[in-house]
Every structure is written in C-alpha cells, then in structure tokens.
Symmetry: C2
DNA sequence: GGCTAACCGGGGCGCACGTTCCGTATAGTA
DNA sequence: TACTATACGGAACGTGCGCCCCGGTTAGCC
C-alpha cells in the first residue's frame, strides 16, 4: 500500500528530529500552540529549515506529538482495564485525562482551536482511543459505578470540559470542581 | 474623579457606533474573536478608521460587548433570585450561562484565549456578577438544592467548562452532558 | 446658505509568523 | 583521504492583521 521505501535517516538528522520533537513537546505543553516555529527551532538549537525538513508543517509537528501521547494514553487505559476494578479503573483514567489539562496547555489549545482537526487527521488512533475508553466505560457501567445512560462521546466531552476548567479555572479549587463532575457521573440515587 | 466631560456625539457618529457594536456582537458570537476588524467594518458598512475612532483597540470593542452582556446576566440573576424557588433559580441561571457557550463562540474564545483579560478589565462588573451569583448559590445551598461545599468560583469554573463542552462537544449529547454536571452539583446522597 | 468642528473612508505602515530557498557543512563510503 | 548524497542554518518572502493618518465630507449652528 505505502509504495515508498523510507531511506534510513543520517545520524545527525535522526538526532535533530528527536531534539525538535522533544523541545516542541515541552514548549507546546508549557506555553500553548501560539509559540512560533522559529522559537522552537532556536530552543532546540537548530535552524527553522531543519524543523520544516522533518515536519512539513506546524500542524504536522504537533500531530506527531499528539499521536505519541494518544498511544500512551491508550496503553494506560488498557492496563487499567485489565488490572483495577471497573469503577476504579474508569475514574483513574478520568483523573489522568482531566489532569492533563492543567499541565498541557497545547492540548487545550488544540481542543479549543479552530486550526487543527486532530481527530480527522489520525482516525485510527482516535478509534483506538475510543475503543479503549468504551471498554473502561461499559465495565464501569456494568459494575454500577457509572450512570448507564452516558456514552463514550459524552465522557470524552466531559473530559475536554474538565481540562478547560483546570487550565482556566481562576480561583476555583481544582479538586472540588473535578469532584463535582465525577459525582455527576455516578448512577442516579 | 473623571475630570473629562464627554461631549455628545454627532448623530452620524452615534449611528455608526451602534452599527459597529451590533455587527461586532453578531460576528464575534458566530465566528469567534479571530475575525479581523476590517471585516467587521466592512459588514457594518463603515471604514476601519471609524471602528478605531470609537473603540481604540480590538480588545476595547470586545470589552464593550462583554460588559453589556454581563450587565444583562446580572439583571437576569437578580430577577431569578427574587422570583423562583432557590434551587430552580440557581439551575435556571446555570442553564442560561452554559447554553451561551453553544451560541456565542466569541465568549468561549475570550475565556480560553490568552489575549483578553476580561475580569481584570472590568472589575466592578465582575464583582456585580459574582455577588449576584453568590446570592443564587447560598440560597440554593440553604434550601438543600446544591452541595454545600462548592464556592462561587467553583461554579463559575464549572460554567466555563460547560460552555467549552457545548462548543467543542463533538458527538456528545449536550443535554446529557450538562445533566451530568448539574447532577454533580446536587448534595451528596 | 455658509462656516467650522467633528467625523468618515480606506490606503498604508509595521510587525509577526509560516514557509521556502540555497549556499555551506558534514556523515557515510570506498 | 576524497567524493557525494544528505542535511544544516538562517536569510528572505508572502501574507494577514492591528492600528494610524490624512484628504475629503457632513452635521450642527448662525
């Protein structure tokens, strides 16, 4: 299917690619997607041209980062599903996702911004993520730990909203705000 | 205190100011804060210079809109507090605020965006808003309709998050997502 | 109707940022 | 060591947008 054979990168090229990726990850997380490419290149100790040789576009660079993170999250979700009890597994994952909003500004930007259409750009990862989350959700629902009428899409939306709350929460107590949402996810009394 | 006397505007100036304000309100709500000033001027049927004569900065223009909206919301909150029963009043206002996220993209942008520091720019309106909301909240808490440990700041943060959910909710059912958060605000069982 | 201060339009400036280009440097190989 | 494909850096380009300026127009007043 992918007819092109990828020639192995030269050693310096591989090093620079990794440096750019790492730097971009840190900078985007700390300051959001507004940071210029030139700035990322500077901090990585390379020229702007080098960034563009490895990632044809700013969006492609961010996408590479996101794909990586999503894969990790999917793995974590699977481990949780296998190990913990259903309710605990679900809410552990929920906490993991919502806390990300407080530490990763780029993530919140991407969710809120017009610019990047993450889900459309990596359908297979998006699918894997949803599948892993569905697994966590249905188990938790079967165990009576989560109200039965919410869907995977609902939970995902709630996570996005909680990330936004974490990031732009002002004087609110993050723990209490998340607690409210978690409580709302429990079955009706 | 404000030593300057404000000379009354000429008739055409007043007309244009109103047109700009109205157009900006609609455009920002529909398309977000990314819309250029030139575009707003064009749609309002005036030159860009005219916009800047009335509002020295893009931020000032948006601020004028927000101040107006906040005042309305405060009035609504007060009416609700006087008329409905405490729980109903609180949740009516909560719905009102969260639904705004679905219809006003500019509002969500402003909450999420670095750019504008709304709260710092209009401290007295912000205060009035918080006071009105505190009134709704403490009454609802006293009536046992809302869990006792949440603060005004918490509720505000939850509203922001819900607005984001409405706007970027994907396939989720808006009604159910909001229902989850409302349920979480009820007292523990 | 005539006068003047107030107002208008839209072209233009400056800056920031994404992206490209090309002369130079270097890793890999014989 | 010499040769070449590959990669590097950063100057330069194009675009978009906030904001300013100024020659022309008009509302308000006598």
């Amino acid at each position: 299917m992918t007819g092109e054979t990828v020639r192995p990168l030269r050693a310096d090229a591989r090093r620079n690619r990794a440096k750019v990726l790492q730097t971009a990850y840190e900078v985007f997380a700390a300051e959001g997607l507004g940071v210029p490419i030139d700035e990322i290149a500077r901090r990585a100790g390379v020229g702007a041209g080098t960034v563009y040789r490895h990632f044809p576009t700013k969006e492609a660079l961010y996408l590479a980062i996101v794909v990586d993170r999503v894969d990790h999250l999917v793995n974590t979700a699977r481990e949780l599903a296998a190990a913990a009890d259903p309710g605990e597994a679900f809410f552990s994952f929920f906490d993991l996702m919502t806390t990300a909003g407080a530490t990763d500004k780029g993530l919140v930007d991407a969710l809120a911004g017009e610019g990047f259409d993450i889900e459309a750009a990596m359908p297979e990862h998006e699918q894997a993520f949803k599948d892993a989350m569905r697994d966590l959700l249905v188990r938790a629902q079967a165990a009576g730990a989560v109200r039965a009428d919410v869907t995977v899409a609902d939970v995902k939306t709630l996570m996005v909203g909680c990330q936004a709350m974490q990031r732009y929460g002002g004087d609110a107590a993050p723990a209490r705000v998340l607690e409210v949402v978690r409580e709302g996810l429990r079955p009706a009394r």
